[in-house]
């Protein structure tokens, strides 16, 4: 039982490993799908038989693979290579029932745990090579995919459908509250675990066809880096030379949807920067929610513009969020005197909880 406890203690690590392998599928599938619709130019799926339709299908296939890849690599994180197949197949099966991303997460953990214990079974030396090649894939997949198909797949699907319906039914007031929360989460750790929870939620929403959630999230993701870049331009006296350089990079990272661009600023001055980007992102997200921005891809920045419905509103929301961020942080910041060597506070280290394992 201690093993099981250890696995669940690291749940977040396992989920994030899955997400890290899934991201290229999200980007490739999403952007190619969006491009095909843009080139077609009539806000719909291109007709069959054209190369644009083929491109559309390439994107769709990339999307379909996200679910098994997520599950497979959650299980990979728990039970290494043998975990991948049972979990990926289990998630694929559950997805057919409508279990979506929630199903992928559960299939991933389930497959990982099942294989983790199958690997522990002691076998005589003659059978040792048979275990990883036949026994674990077959039994592991039978248990994982079987449970998903016959036992828990349908209940998970009904939760997913319920959540989707609830999100669809949200009135504009509630949408704004959801948008504010997503904005705060996006900015809080700039691409860290809290941000990735909002990201995972967005992927789920997109796969269920809730494009307004992705519209909101896209704004929240890019406001912190764009806002900080803008801030260095508006008040250059309040930033060091290296911060001004980081400002340009941050601006560009914002345009391609990478919140991490804002980190150099937050690392140097967290108490002023983090609240500012959180408020800015929340303002931008709320604007996007109110204006009904829709985004077909779970990604951010100007590169998703082709996939956005309400392009002008999307840009307005980004501008609102970025300007709020920049004005607030510049209001809070004082002019800097350039220091050659940053002084290290010799006492802070004592608060760190480090230990050898």
């Amino acid at each position: 039982m201690n093993d099981l406890k250890a696995i669940f203690k690291d749940t977040r690590q396992h989920l994030m490993t899955g997400v890290s392998y899934m991201i290229p599928f999200v980007v490739a599938g999403g952007i190619l799908l969006a491009l095909s619709v843009v080139f077609y130019g009539q806000a719909g799926v291109p007709p069959e038989g054209t190369w644009l339709f083929d491109l559309f299908m390439i994107g769709v296939k990339g999307f379909e693979l996200m679910v098994p890849i997520l599950a497979g690599f959650i299980a990979f994180s728990i039970a290494e290579r043998p975990g991948i197949a049972p979990a990926a197949i289990g998630a694929f099966v559950a997805n057919e029932l409508g279990a979506g991303f929630l199903g992928a997460v559960i299939a991933g953990i389930l497959g990982g745990v099942v294989v983790f214990y199958l690997k522990k079974i002691k076998v005589p030396a003659v059978f040792r090579s048979i275990m990883p090649i036949f026994v674990i894939p077959i039994i592991g997949t039978f248990i994982t995919a079987g449970l998903m198909q016959w036992v828990i797949g349908a209940p998970i699907a009904s939760i997913t459908i319920g959540l989707t319906e609830w999100l669809q039914g949200l009135q504009s007031g509630s949408i704004v509250i959801l948008a504010i929360i997503m904005g705060l989460m996006n900015a809080f750790d700039m691409g860290g675990p809290v941000n990735k929870v909002a990201f995972a939620f967005t992927i789920m929403a997109v796969s269920e066809g809730l494009y307004n959630i992705a519209g909101i999230n896209a704004v929240g993701v890019c406001c912190p880096p764009i806002g900080m870049g803008l801030a260095t331009l508006l008040a250059p006296k309040k930033y060091t030379v290296s911060e001004k350089e980081a400002g340009k990079a941050s601006f560009l990272m914002g345009l391609v949807g990478i919140t991490e661009g804002a980190i150099p600023f937050a690392a140097g001055d967290p108490l002023r920067v983090i609240p500012s980007i959180m408020v800015g992102a929340a303002a931008g997200c709320a604007t996007a929610g109110l204006l009904g921005v829709q985004n077909m891809i779970a990604w951010s920045g100007l590169i998703v513009l082709p996939a956005v419905t309400g392009k002008l509103q999307y840009i307005i929301a980004i501008i609102v969020g970025s300007v709020v961020t920049a004005l607030m942080v510049n209001l809070l910041k004082k002019p800097v005197q350039e220091k050659e060597n940053e002084e290290i506070d010799e006492n802070i280290g004592d608060e760190l909880d480090l230990k050898f394992e």
Binding site: P24, G192, F356
Partner: protein, 103 residues
């Protein structure tokens, strides 16, 4: 003293490399030898060699996502830290490790 480290983060494009840079800078400022392997979206870069690991007094591993090939560090002193903690507090972490090792 020598520190080796492996860093990785969920998206594998930013925190992975920023934490590596922060650690390298912090260690060099204290005159400590350091080598950081990054396991980003692109794969393993600046891979730690067997000698690197053998010579190291301590191994820093980030704990946000599962790392590849961690069996290499069996029998070493390992410290696990969050990747954003390493970005923000590399100086303090290095200082603390120095105290812990020299104790």
């Amino acid at each position: 003293m020598k520190i080796v480290a492996v860093t990785a983060c969920p998206s594998g494009v930013a925190h992975t490399y920023m934490s590596a840079e922060a650690l390298e800078r912090a260690a060099k400022a204290r005159g400590i030898e350091v080598k950081v392997e990054t396991q980003g979206q692109i794969g393993i870069e600046n891979r730690l060699s067997v000698e690197d690991i053998k010579d190291a007094d301590v191994v820093i591993l980030t704990k946000d996502i599962g790392l590849k090939e961690t069996d290499r560090f069996k029998e070493k002193k390992i410290v696990k830290v969050g990747v954003s903690e390493l970005v923000k507090k590399a100086d303090q972490i290095v200082k603390k490790l120095e105290e812990m090792i020299n104790k």
